[in-house]
């Protein structure tokens, strides 16, 4: 938590103001019982109605001060906390956006999302609490003790005793109940898990006639959760009555022991009443403070997670801002490229070399984990090579500013991610200047024209988050069109035809071949039929380039390629 305190710096003055206002509020609040004791000891005893009214007016004044201070403190506090959260959130988002794939893989998408949203909210709530409660508790506590001692030194031991009893008790409860709280969360998760499994596997469960079995599993989790919740709530059932009892007993103690001091004339009755109210205020401060200690660790865990994100620096950065002169166009070359994932012992790719010229199609084929996807991700510099060089248009990719390099590339990822907005918005993602005509052309090449025109509004039809209102195949075609709009020098299709049926796949590639004549095209695929016609086929096996050439050449020379082909096509088609 302390590591994030630097985010408070821009709000130093309002934050200090909050502290001052809180102090003002607490002190004024603490002054009220003292004034009340004047009413009793001087006004009532002296039968001085004038004094009573006068003191009453002063009290009203102080109440007003209390409220004005609190409202202002809340005002500045809310602004500080919201601003604090806004700045952190913005920094996290910027950090993550600039992450390269390495950092992204390390933390994981789901976790990054939680850190950017939920964790920040946790921190913000903690900040609000710190500003409104944590500051007030010690001031109230210390101030309360000072005021109480002023009223009667001899009774201050009651405060000590009460605070001690209360703290010990709360600690005991916390020690017993907190582990229960944690296991409660686990048991809630367990119920969710069983339920989710039941939903995802519903067909299998019913097919295997296992409904009863699943019900039993759920019932066990349910019972377990119920028993733990009952235990937790029973601890709470003990806690609150005991706290109330301690509070009440301390006021009773004040009256009893204070009474004897009244008798000896050490204390006046009004002071006693004031003292009693101070004890109450001190105890509430103690309760609030302990509550904070329960809440803060949670926020601190969030703070740690956020810090991890902020501290992590992107591993891929720009060397220069200026775009280098490229001697070639639509040209890609790998020179003895090897690549290791960070911390991995074995290479994902080892010693890969090939060249792709404008108008050429290079296909990459191989089993899962053979490094196909990794290979093409080196071209837009999503990862940096460990050994060797990747050249685009004759320049090492590391010598480009990332933005300049990627401007040359039309990338179609494995998972067709669309963004919410309209179809046109998604296409313009590829190129902001794309005209209506450009878009229609791209859609037609991508075999998407037909279903897009069927949509209400055509290219202006809405796309929901993650493109969930389109089928897998439609999404892929849109994401291909997005790359086409860009008119890049290098096309990369990372297994982008998998959700298309064979017919559409073939049509699309045919249209593509006739349109793209000046660019290098890379196609990663699992289907032989998709890669068969490429000018150059790269066959990967566990990171090694075991064959390179046309379909015909490879059928002759490459065993691995033949194996893959045979598994997919029947013998008579191989010819």
């Amino acid at each position: 938590m302390t590591k994030l305190l630097r985010y408070i710096r821009p709000y130093k003055w309002p934050a200090i103001l909050v502290v001052l206002l809180t102090a003002g509020q607490s002190i004024s609040q603490l002054y009220l019982p003292d004034l009340m004791s004047d009413i009793v000891d001087k006004g009532v005893v002296g039968k001085d109605i004038g004094l009573i009214i006068e003191t009453g007016l002063i009290m009203l004044g102080f109440s007003l001060v209390v409220s004005v201070c609190t409202v202002l403190a809340r005002l500045f506090g809310a602004k500080v906390a919201a601003g604090f959260a806004r700045d952190i959130r913005s920094d996290i988002f910027k950090s993550v956006t600039n992450y390269s794939m390495n950092e992204f893989d390390k933390i994981g998408t789901a976790s990054l999302i939680t850190r950017s949203t939920n964790d920040v909210t946790q921190i913000q709530n903690a900040m609000v609490m710190i500003l409104s409660m944590l500051l007030m508790a010690p001031i109230m506590c210390v101030g309360g003790i000072i005021m109480a001692v002023r009223e009667s030194t001899g009774l201050s031991w009651i405060i000590m005793a009460a605070v001690a009893v209360m703290s010990v008790f709360i600690l005991i409860v916390a020690k017993n109940a907190l582990p229960l709280f944690k296991s409660l969360q686990k048991k809630v998760d367990r119920v969710n898990l069983v339920l989710r499994e039941g939903l995802t596997g519903i067909r299998v469960i019913r097919a295997f006639n296992k409904t009863k079995h699943e019900q039993k599993r759920f019932d066990e989790a349910n019972k377990d959760l119920t028993n733990t919740s009952i235990k937790v709530y029973r601890w709470m059932a003990v806690m609150f009555p005991v706290i109330m009892m301690v509070l009440n007993l301390s006021t009773i103690a004040v009256i009893w022991f204070g009474g004897h001091r009244v008798d000896t004339g050490d204390v006046q009755v009004g002071q006693l009443m004031a003292f009693q109210q101070y004890v109450m205020q001190i105890m509430f401060a103690v309760i609030m403070a302990t509550m904070m200690f329960v809440m803060l660790p949670r926020a601190s865990a969030s703070a740690d997670r956020i810090n991890e994100v902020l501290k992590m620096a992107p591993s891929i950065t720009d060397k220069t801002k200026a775009a280098p002169e490229a001697p070639l166009h639509g040209h890609v070359e790998f020179r003895n490229v090897s690549f290791y994932y960070e911390g991995a012992k074995d290479p994902v790719l080892s010693n890969i070399s090939f060249v792709s010229k404008p108008g050429q199609t290079t296909a990459v084929i191989g089993g899962t984990g053979s490094g196909k996807s990794t290979l093409i991700k080196l071209i837009p510099r999503f990862y940096d090579v460990t050994v060797g060089q990747v050249l685009v248009d004759g320049v090492d990719v590391r010598d480009y500013p990332q933005a300049e390099l990627r401007k040359k590339i039309g990338f179609v990822p494995q998972k067709a991610s669309l963004v919410s907005g309209t179809i046109a918005d998604n296409l313009r993602f590829g190129s902001a200047e794309a005209s209506e005509e450009d878009m229609n052309k791209a859609l037609s090449i991508a075999q998407a024209e037909e279903f897009v025109t069927k949509e209400k509004g055509g290219v202006n039809a809405a796309v929901s988050q993650d493109g969930s209102n389109f089928s897998g195949g439609q999404k892929q075609r849109l994401s291909i069109a997005r790359a086409l709009v860009r008119k890049p020098e290098v096309y990369i299709f990372d297994d982008s035809f998998s959700a298309l049926d064979f017919k559409t796949d073939a049509k699309l590639r045919r249209a593509l071949a006739s349109e793209v004549t000046q660019a290098s095209v890379f196609i990663v695929a699992q289907r032989v039929s998709t890669v068969m016609n490429a000018d150059n086929i790269l066959v990967l096996d566990e990171g090694h380039l075991v064959g390179q050439g046309t379909h015909r050449e490879l059928m002759q020379s490459c065993g691995t390629y033949r194996e893959i082909v045979e598994s997919q096509l029947s013998v008579e088609e191989l010819a």
């Binding site: 009453g56 009203l60 988002f93």
Partner: protein
């Protein structure tokens, strides 16, 4: 699956455990949800409570008792203070009586402190007014007497013991109340969860296919959780808040109706203020929720599309958009925070005003002898306690609304129409594996028929290949065969018996399923395979695993067959998962098999294993194969060609090729298309 992950992610934020018993926090004015039919929902929720009538009665009695005993505390303790004050006030009384008796000039001297009381009395006697002297002498004697008055500690002791007794009783009652409520509310929630789970088991697949898992999950977790918290805390709060309001009011009136009325002036004010603040802050809370939703949406979207954002160089644009939303969130966020934050200080101010009123008017009344000092003290405590139930009552409406809204969503599940009852007409026929479709028509939605007048005769041992582009609705046949969905017209029979005349269990025993969407649960590999047949022996499990070519990889795992699959079964590869599902089907050994040949994300070597395992599995059964391999398709007894959810062609390979329709086209583009391109 990816869709599912997303839900999981959204769900991952965890069920909101209300404020939780430790919570409290800034809960004022959370966005309110309106129940659709409050009265009906309330009554139905109440019916859950009345099942625990005894506990409920205890809870009500205890809540009332705890509050009542608690309320008597301050008033009684006030009597102790009054006792403490007695000697002092008697002295003050006597002193002022004396002063009244003195002539003005002597009183002035006494007030100035230039003469003592004895001197004053002497001065009056010297003046020679006998009547006045007697009066003064008596007053002086009374003062003497008052000065000797001591605090009656015996009496104070009794009062204090009484108060301790009252508070003890109140705390004890509170404890019993919470203790009983813990069990009752959690049992109700347990019952609700179980009811929903049992209900889900009776719902047709249509229900599940029609909504996201997240939506269903949220009803069982979040919604039931809301009900749980409300039951645990809300119910007792309502009872004690109401009792407290009435009780305190009664106590205050018995002390002094004047002060009560004066301090009551604040009451409607605080009610109005708290309602107004809640209403106002709700607007901002809603706005905050909306902006937070936008922000989360943007974050999720941009992170999921990280590769694309980078590839197209959209980082700056995405950041700009984020900052815009972030700024808006800040704008409504701090206002929501502020408004919910000022509730307390505002209420506090009002309570301070009434505190001052009580002090001043109480002081005056004490001087007049209308009430005692202890009453003032009690009053101060009462007026302090008063604001709490008021804020509670002001919020109860909101809490009730959202609770009933949540309960309604749970009830909605419970009220969904169930699957038809199982029935058995005649005797269960011998399991051979014959399947017949006669004049079957079916559609997921009314008027949208996907299967029209379908006839198909499958003999035991036949292979039916289902082909078509991805997303052609090949699962429809699975749905009908397994009776996940009911046919609209015609009949499907297995081994000569109409599916509808046979209990679902009997039907499903005859089928085995190996689908691409492998489903394994979090448990050991052994348990997952044994899922195929209840009471399978270790030997049978291993034999099935061997036949499925899974035994080898299982034994390479550190814990072998005892390896526990984690939540997403991500500790084994997807190909290995498929092998496990094949082993599971082998162990079940059904006469009819539904098989999806697709093997995606599998390396070539594992793919070969899977193919061999599938071939082993298909032997000696009737097979419905969602076919991807040419050899399967060509050798099939019947090919069903599907497109856009419908069966469009049906026949053997040769028949369909001769027909030169969709299948021929598909076949050509798939396997020879590349050559002609």
């Amino acid at each position: 699956m990816s869709n599912d992950k997303q839900n999981q992610m959204k769900m991952g934020k965890g069920p909101r455990r209300g404020g939780g018993p430790m919570g409290g926090g800034p809960g004022h004015g959370m966005p309110m949800e309106k129940a659709k039919n409050f009265k009906a929902g309330f009554r139905r929720l109440l019916s859950y409570l009345t099942r625990h009538r005894a506990a409920l009665i205890i809870v009500i009695v205890m809540a009332v008792g705890a509050t009542v005993f608690g309320i008597f505390g301050p008033k009684t303790l006030g009597n102790a203070t009054t006792e403490l004050f007695k000697p002092l006030s008697a002295q003050a009384e006597a002193y002022s009586n004396l002063k009244d008796a003195l002539p003005d000039d002597i009183e002035a001297q006494l007030n100035d402190g230039t003469i003592t009381i004895e001197q004053a009395v002497g001065a009056v006697a010297a003046a020679g007014d006998e009547q006045q002297t007697a009066k003064v002498m008596q007053a002086a004697a009374e003062l003497q007497e008052a000065a000797e008055l001591r605090i009656d500690f015996a009496k104070v002791g009794v009062i204090i013991l009484t108060v301790i007794g009252l508070y003890l009783a109140s705390s004890l009652f509170n404890f019993i109340l919470q203790f009983v409520m813990a069990k009752t509310s959690q049992t109700i929630v347990y019952d609700m969860r179980r009811e929903v789970e049992n209900k889900l088991a009776k719902l047709p697949l249509k229900y599940f296919d029609g909504r996201t898992h997240g939506e269903i999950l949220s009803r069982v977790t979040n919604d039931i959780d809301t009900v749980s918290t409300s039951l645990q805390q809300g119910l007792t709060q309502i009872i004690s808040a109401v009792t407290m309001l009435i009780g305190i009011m009664v106590m205050m009136f018995t002390i002094s109706w004047i002060i009560t009325l004066v301090s009551m002036v604040v009451l409607p004010l605080s009610f109005i203020v708290s309602r107004a603040v809640i209403k106002k802050s709700q607007k901002f809370f809603k706005g905050q929720q909306v902006e937070l939703g936008h922000l989360n949406g943007h974050v999720e979207e941009m992170y999921a599309a990280h590769t694309v954002v980078k590839a197209f160089g959209k980082e700056a644009e995405s950041e700009e958009q984020f900052d815009e939303i972030n700024e808006r969130l800040y704008g409504v966020g701090w206002k929501a925070q502020f408004l919910s934050g000022i509730m307390m200080p505002l209420m506090h101010f009002l309570s301070n005003i009434s505190y001052v009123f009580v002090c001043v008017i109480g002081g005056v009344l004490v001087i007049n002898g209308r009430i005692s000092i202890g009453d003032v003290q009690a009053f101060i405590q009462y007026s302090r306690q008063f604001t709490q139930p008021i804020t509670q009552v002001a919020q109860i409406a909101n809490v009730m609304q959202s609770t009933i809204a949540s309960a309604e969503r749970v009830f909605e599940v419970l009220d969904e129409p169930e699957m038809s009852e199982d029935r058995l007409v005649g005797n269960v026929p011998e399991a051979n594996g014959a399947v017949e479709f006669s004049h079957v028509s079916f559609g997921y939605e009314l008027g949208k028929t996907v299967i029209k007048d379908m006839n198909l005769d499958v003999k035991p041992g036949d292979v039916v290949a289902i082909v078509g582009p991805t997303g052609a609705g090949k699962t429809t046949l699975v749905n009908l065969l397994m009776r996940f969905y009911e046919v609209d017209e015609g009949r499907i029979s297995v081994d000569g018996m109409d599916l509808k005349d046979m209990p679902r269990e009997t039907l499903r025993e005859r089928f085995g399923m190996v689908l691409q969407d492998t489903w394994l649960f979090g448990g050991t590999i052994r348990d997952n395979i044994a899922y195929g047949r209840e009471g399978a022996t270790e030997e049978e499990i291993k034999r099935a695993a061997k036949m499925a070519h899974a035994d080898h990889f299982i034994r390479t795992l550190p814990d072998g067959y005892d390896t526990v699959l984690n939540e997403e079964a991500s500790n084994i590869s997807s190909g290995q998962k498929q092998l496990l599902t094949i082993a599971r089907a082998l162990l079940a050994d059904p006469p009819i098999l539904i098989l999806d040949e697709a093997t995606s994300n599998v390396d070539t070597r594992t793919e070969a294993y899977i193919q061999n395992a599938m071939i082993a599995l298909m032997e000696g059964r009737t097979n419905f194969v969602i076919a991807h391999r040419l050899s399967t398709i060509r050798n099939a007894s019947t090919i069903l060609v599907m497109n856009e959810g419908r069966i469009i062609e049906q026949g053997t390979h040769q028949q369909l090729m001769d027909k030169n329709g969709f299948y021929a086209d598909l076949y050509n583009s798939q396997f020879t298309g590349a050559a002609t391109a």
